[in-house]
Point group: C2
Chain length 210, copies 2
């Protein structure tokens, strides 16, 4: 049996998030269906991260086990011919039996894009969050510095989080961007449920002077 | 009678280009219809540039004449409430009677985005052109230098161009970009029919080593 790793890019606009659901079209569901057509097997695709509805991925990592004998690097080509254009398999390769996309992850990197201009953006409307009020980027950048390190992030955890510990290590947290777009980049060994979104919301409040 | 200038951003994905057509939904047509609802007049919107189907704009300039007494800066707000989210009016203001979006233009700037990676991109698929074969950016940048200045660009004119002269002045022509995305930026006093597209195609050929 082979263990195959996929690196997946997707535009989450038209999906109900990553995780397979009964009542929504999801990225996991669509890729699993394509894998089923390709291999003739019922495939359980393990994703590194459950992204929410409307969230995109440039490099979601996933893996699955199969008895199919397609050469590992050919899964990318074969899947891309079956998948819609808003989901692309960047690469496929064989990994050791022990590899598990979620448990083997040693870090994750998120980018939160804030479009900071009236009246919002037509061209980037699906890949950014509009904030009309001018944001103080210097204050946001300063606040980022306090995130770096190993801390108890329980204040940034959504209700319903079931993680055993709320201690996480953040390696990178910074504000970059262009004239109208502000990027909040954050990289760490793991994130609590909704932690990135709550931190981004807090940074926006700081940028507004709250 | 007022002369109102609009600066318009649009995602051209779902439109048959800028120019009003009988058999296609176009950006000019949609904005003119919104202006008609707003003013109760039949409005003729003059655009600085006719963009092709699928081409986007970050700052298309247009103007129109009206007897309507809405304060000039309020057109942007009023139109944005009537327009679909893929068309946004960035600003509206009163301009002198003599202002004409096309004839008064002293320069235009285009950006051509090339996504240079297999298997293409899910997230940026509507705002870039996919080239799978690796492109030599240094060669493309070198070729750009020959474009700058005042030249006869008849070699880069599409059949059917009706311009009186094919001499144009290019102020800026450069290659920038990120890891996977190559931007070709070009700025000049005017462009012949399809000139930017033909130049971009030539640069891609150069990047491929042709």
């Amino acid at each position: 049996m082979s263990n195959i790793k996929l690196v997946i890019e997707y535009d989450g606009t038209n999906y109900g998030g990553w995780h397979r659901q009964k009542n929504a079209v999801t990225v996991q569901g669509v890729v699993e269906d394509a894998l089923c057509r390709l291999t003739g097997e019922e495939i359980n695709l393990i994703g590194a991260s459950r992204t929410d509805s409307g969230v995109h991925a440039l490099g979601q990592v996933a893996n699955f086990h199969t008895n199919c004998t397609i050469p590992p690097d050919r899964y990318a080509y074969a899947l891309n011919s079956l998948l819609p254009m808003d989901i692309r398999i960047r690469e496929s390769l064989a990994v050791p039996e022990s590899f598990h996309a979620r448990y083997s992850a040693i870090g994750k990197r998120y980018r939160y894009s804030i479009y900071n201009r009236i009246p919002g953006t037509a061209l980037y409307r699906n890949i950014s969050y509009n904030v009309y009020q001018p944001l103080d980027r210097a204050k946001m950048a300063e606040a980022c510095r306090y995130l770096i390190g190993t801390h108890d992030f329980s204040a940034f955890r959504a209700a319903g989080s079931s993680a055993k510990t709320s201690v996480r290590t953040i390696d990178q947290a910074e504000i970059t961007g262009t004239e109208d777009m502000i990027y909040f980049l954050i990289k760490g060994n793991g994130f609590l449920y909704n932690m990135v979104r709550i931190i981004a919301g807090t940074l926006i409040d700081i940028g507004k002077g709250k």
